[in-house]
């Protein structure tokens, strides 16, 4: 039979007692059943046990900032950053600062973009890069886009350099790596609201704070990819370097870094994408450009023009993504001997030529320099009408009203009340049980312990509302994403467009989803969940497709030769083998949901996100950090359980 093709070896773990997980779970269930008779102490952490963490953090921050004078250091750093930001701002949109030669005409930038596109990936990428520039200009957002890019042009290289250095350090010293890994994990799960306040206080509101927040957000994958790449350098290449008599520095510079090129460039790609993901969020702390404009437009309900900005951001993101990916796979090509210098550097010369040529042209032809307002082709109000028309459609309205009624009354509110009703201890034990089942005592302590800390901060109920929203959304996302993913994986014609939709949905600024969500469902949990679902479905689909696609062909052939039908093949071979990969998608969906649920505070929630939003008004750094940590800890707890499971499962299945 087909399932004999799946070897299921049990992975042995030292000191693992299988009964413990069940025992923990049983206690959890008992506590839940006995809830009405339990003393209050067992249901929620009593007030006297809740320590004033907020005050401690606040004190610690004040101590760092004022007593240790950290603020002088950070302000000095922001002065340096500001100098760079001013220079890029001058070049890209003509801010009156050194070197006072900008702005560079849009046609010159567009031409260079197209030439780079051609160099990296031929005509298709030339068209994408040039076309995006033309679109941005025609739609009348050139200046805004350049304001955004002027910050990213500083933030991305800074994140690259810092990430690369930290990655090298982590690779050199395992002790440093041991500190670095959990720090990065926390950084990646910390809600963005928690970045904002420290960024403003320590680095000055405006582009500098935006730049710093972007850098911090974009560093983690760079560090991880650098370390990974350096570890993967083939030992013989290393030995060849050593035998050539390289010093340590020569080894790093000439052997390790070039040999880890692919991973490092993947890191660069991630840095760029994450920087773009922060465009809108950092607008809250002074990041100029597209994000700030988007927020202003949304506040006066100009959906059409917000949508256009969203499209611009997506186009820029896709362009930079494709360009950097093309760079990753691009391998150097040799020239025939005797090729003259100008032929070897043909593209460079064409680029420089066009750049200078167009700058000169722009001195005489206004359109080549910049498009003024009125020359653009924005269709903002038309799109507005279309969106409003679609939403006002009676069928849509009836459907959404019905959905709202049913979902809220019969599903969401009962689910939420149930989560809130459960004793804290019960939930903590459940997680510990899951932790024990996947990774033994250590995982049980981590998974349960993280939630226990949340309980001890006194924000349990708020935290549970966050968890409830996350899980409702992820469950719905699974109902949508898994079938679509399976369908797409089985049929190549489907998978291409679906992956494109995934890419687009992921880069489309999340804010833009919020408004249609509210217009469809009103300010309530359903809108929140709807907004999360859009985001969380993407990784589920993507990893399902990837998991099923990567099942080794021999196994499929073996199943076919065993006479498996299509559905037998799917259920007995493909899905079991794809499960560890799908779990990664599930994990990402949860991480995205935790990210999005905090953003959904802008719709209106009653969870940790709302409290976090409140702290921004009062500059309560301590409370802000405590709440942020609660979100991060919960996310990390789930992350640990799922990733641990996926790893063990992979080993058991013997798939890489």
């Amino acid at each position: 039979m087909a399932d004999t093709a799946v070897p299921l070896a049990k992975v042995e773990r030292a000191g693992f007692v299988p009964g413990v997980a069940y025992a923990l779970l049983a206690v959890a269930v008992l506590l839940a059943i006995a809830r009405p008779w339990l003393p209050e102490v067992l249901v929620r952490v009593p007030d006297w046990m809740i320590l004033p963490y907020e005050g401690w953090f606040q004190w610690f921050f004040d101590f760092l900032k004022d007593d240790l004078g950290l603020i002088h250091v950070t302000r000095a750093i922001s002065a340096v950053l500001e100098w760079f930001l001013d220079a890029t701002a001058n070049l890209l949109y003509g801010k009156s600062r050194w070197p006072n030669i900008g702005p560079i005409p849009w046609t010159a930038i567009a031409a260079v973009a197209a030439v780079i596109g051609y160099g990296l990936g031929g005509w298709r990428l030339a068209l994408l890069a040039g076309g995006t520039s033309v679109w941005v200009s025609l739609i009348g957002q050139w200046d805004l886009a350049m304001q955004t890019l002027s910050v990213i042009a500083v933030a991305a290289p800074a994140a690259f350099m810092i990430g690369l250095s930290l990655g090298i350090l982590a690779w050199k010293s395992s002790r440093f790596e041991a500190i670095m890994r959990p720090t990065l994990a926390v950084l990646q799960t910390l809600p963005f609201f928690t970045y904002l306040l420290p960024a403003v206080i320590f680095f000055k509101v405006g582009p500098t704070a935006g730049c710093v927040a972007t850098i911090v957000y974009a560093i983690p994958p760079m560090v991880l990819m650098t370390t990974l790449g350096l570890k993967k350098v083939p030992p013989e290449v290393v030995e060849a370097g050593l035998m050539s008599g390289s010093t340590r520095w020569q080894m790093l510079r000439h052997v390790y870094l070039p040999a880890a090129r692919t991973e490092i460039l993947v890191g660069v790609n991630q840095v760029i994408m994450l920087s773009l993901a922060m465009v809108v969020l950092t607008a809250f702390i002074g990041m100029p450009g597209l994000g700030a404009k988007l927020l202003a437009l949304m506040n006066s309900l100009k959906l059409g023009r917000s949508f256009e900005i969203g499209v611009t951001i997506v186009l820029i993101a896709i362009t930079l993504d494709r360009l950097s990916k093309a760079w990753i796979v691009k391998q150097p090509q040799h020239f025939m001997r005797g090729t003259p210098w100008w032929r070897r550097n043909q593209l460079l010369l064409v680029g420089i030529g066009l750049f200078i040529g167009l700058i000169i042209v722009a001195q005489f032809v206004q359109v080549a320099d910049q498009l003024t307002r009125g020359q653009d082709l924005s269709m903002g109000s038309e799109i507005d009408d279309i969106i409003r028309g679609a939403l006002a459609n009676p069928t849509v309205d009836a459907a959404t009203s019905w959905l709202r009624q049913v979902m809220i009354t019969y599903i969401l509110i009962p689910f939420r009340n149930a989560v809130l009703w459960l004793p804290s201890l019960s939930i903590i034990l459940c997680l510990a049980a899951a932790g024990y089942a996947v990774g033994g005592r250590r995982s049980a302590l981590l998974a349960g312990g993280f939630f226990a800390i949340v309980a001890l901060t006194g924000w349990w109920d708020r935290a549970m509302i966050t968890v409830y929203a996350v899980f409702s959304a992820v469950i719905i996302a699974m109902l949508i994403g898994l079938p679509l993913g399976i369908l797409a994986a089985r049929n190549k014609k489907w998978s291409e467009p679906i992956l494109l939709v995934c890419d687009t949905a992921q880069t489309f600024p999340s804010f833009i989803y919020l408004i249609p969500a509210i217009m469809l469902f009103g300010v309530n949990d359903l809108s929140v969940i709807f907004a999360i679902v859009i985001f969380a479905t993407v990784p589920l689909m993507r990893y399902t497709i990837e998991g099923i696609r990567n099942v080794p062909a021999e196994l499929i052939e073996a199943a076919e030769m065993s006479g498996a039908s299509r559905s037998q093949k799917l259920w007995k071979v493909q899905i079991p083998l794809a499960l560890p990969t799908m779990a990664i998608g599930f994990n990402q969906a949860i991480m995205f949901a935790f990210f999005m649920v905090i953003i959904a505070a802008f719709i209106g929630t009653q969870d940790l996100g709302q409290e976090l939003q409140k702290t921004l008004a009062g500059n309560q750094l301590g409370k802000n950090l405590v709440l942020g940590m609660c979100v991060a800890l919960m996310a990390l707890s789930f992350d640990h359980i799922i990733m641990r499971w996926s790893e063990t499962r992979r080993k058991a299945l013997g798939v890489a």
Partner: protein, 313 residues
């Protein structure tokens, strides 16, 4: 000889000028802009006036609450719209910490309170009297509030006391906080399609008045102390048993180093004063006429020279 004479004259002139007016610093004055149109346009209007005086001006986009911390630190130089209701708390907190000062108060008054669009009145004719709300509570009910009416409040970081008001006045309502102004507008736009009755948090001056005509609910009139002293107001044992002030202030705040660094600009800023009508006009240029903020500011300046010329003399 002539050169010498002109030189002396210039030196004299220069010294007398410093005597009268310390020279403004050449560093740029930083004006924060937020995410609502009137504030953006007003910032550009003032920016252009200061530029005309020879200052260099820069704009920076910031959060409207966090900005007071930045003014205090001198990272931004001024804040042109300090709403009593929305930002009074942050402003006062910053004043207590020092570094920020209250430069001027606009003639414009601000009001923030429960508000409804006109179609609501058709369904619940007893409005704007607040007592009518209880009678019509069922009209405002939604799945998530059950039988109670729903009031869509502003974001929690605006620090309103709607829930206390509901409690004090015994309203059969539940407060649901929207997460952003945009969320309120989206709800209004959605309600407009089906003319669903709705009560939301709103304020004036605001572009929404032009898009959706409506009225504020008449709560018992605000009396000083109504929010702190239970005895004040119609319900003897409750606080917040009143509406918000119908004429809240709209102030201009500045970094307290401004008057030394840019004395001339500071002097101008003390003169700046807008009325409700002027602010509404600025917002209209952007929100209705779809102009860019900078163009709107220029248009306003061109049309209202009589208003602003005296400020710089």
């Amino acid at each position: 000889m002539t050169t010498l004479r002109t030189f002396t004259a210039a030196a004299l002139l220069a010294s007398s000028a410093t005597f009268a007016f310390a020279e403004d610093s050449t560093d740029p004055i930083t004006i924060p802009i937020h995410n609502w149109s009137s504030q953006i346009v007003m910032s550009h209007v003032v920016g252009k006036i200061l530029e005309a005086q020879g200052n260099s001006v820069e704009f920076v986009t910031t959060d409207s609450q966090a900005v007071y911390e930045s003014v205090r630190l001198g990272d931004v130089t001024m804040e042109l719209e300090v709403w009593e209701g929305a930002f009074g708390a942050s402003f006062r907190a910053a004043m207590e910490q020092g570094g920020i000062e209250d430069v001027a108060t606009h003639n414009a008054v601000t009001r923030e309170d429960w508000w409804y669009p006109m179609w609501t009145k058709e369904a619940c004719p007893g409005l704007p009297d607040w007592n009518a709300l209880n009678a019509c509570a069922a009209l405002f009910a939604t799945p998530e509030t059950g039988t109670k009416g729903r009031f869509l409040g502003g974001p929690v970081d605006w620090l309103k006391h709607d829930a206390e008001k509901v409690e004090a006045l015994g309203l059969n309502f539940q407060v649901v906080n929207a997460g952003s102004a945009a969320a309120i507008w989206a709800e209004l736009a959605a309600a407009e399609k089906t003319k669903t009755p709705i009560v939301v948090f709103n304020w004036t001056p605001n572009f929404a008045e032009a898009v959706w005509p409506g009225e504020f609910v008449n709560f018992p009139e605000w009396v000083e102390g109504c929010d702190t002293d239970p005895a004040v107001g119609p319900i003897p044992d409750k606080t917040y048993d009143c509406g918000n002030p119908a004429n809240g202030y709209l102030k201009i705040a500045a970094w307290d180093g401004m008057k030394d660094k840019w004395p001339a600009a500071y002097a101008t800023l003390q003169q700046v004063n807008f009325t409700n009508a002027q602010i509404a006009e600025m917002a209209k240029f952007v929100d209705i006429d779809e102009m860019e903020a900078e163009d709107a500011a220029q248009a306003w300046l061109d049309a209202n020279e009589a208003v602003w010329k005296p400020w710089i003399e």
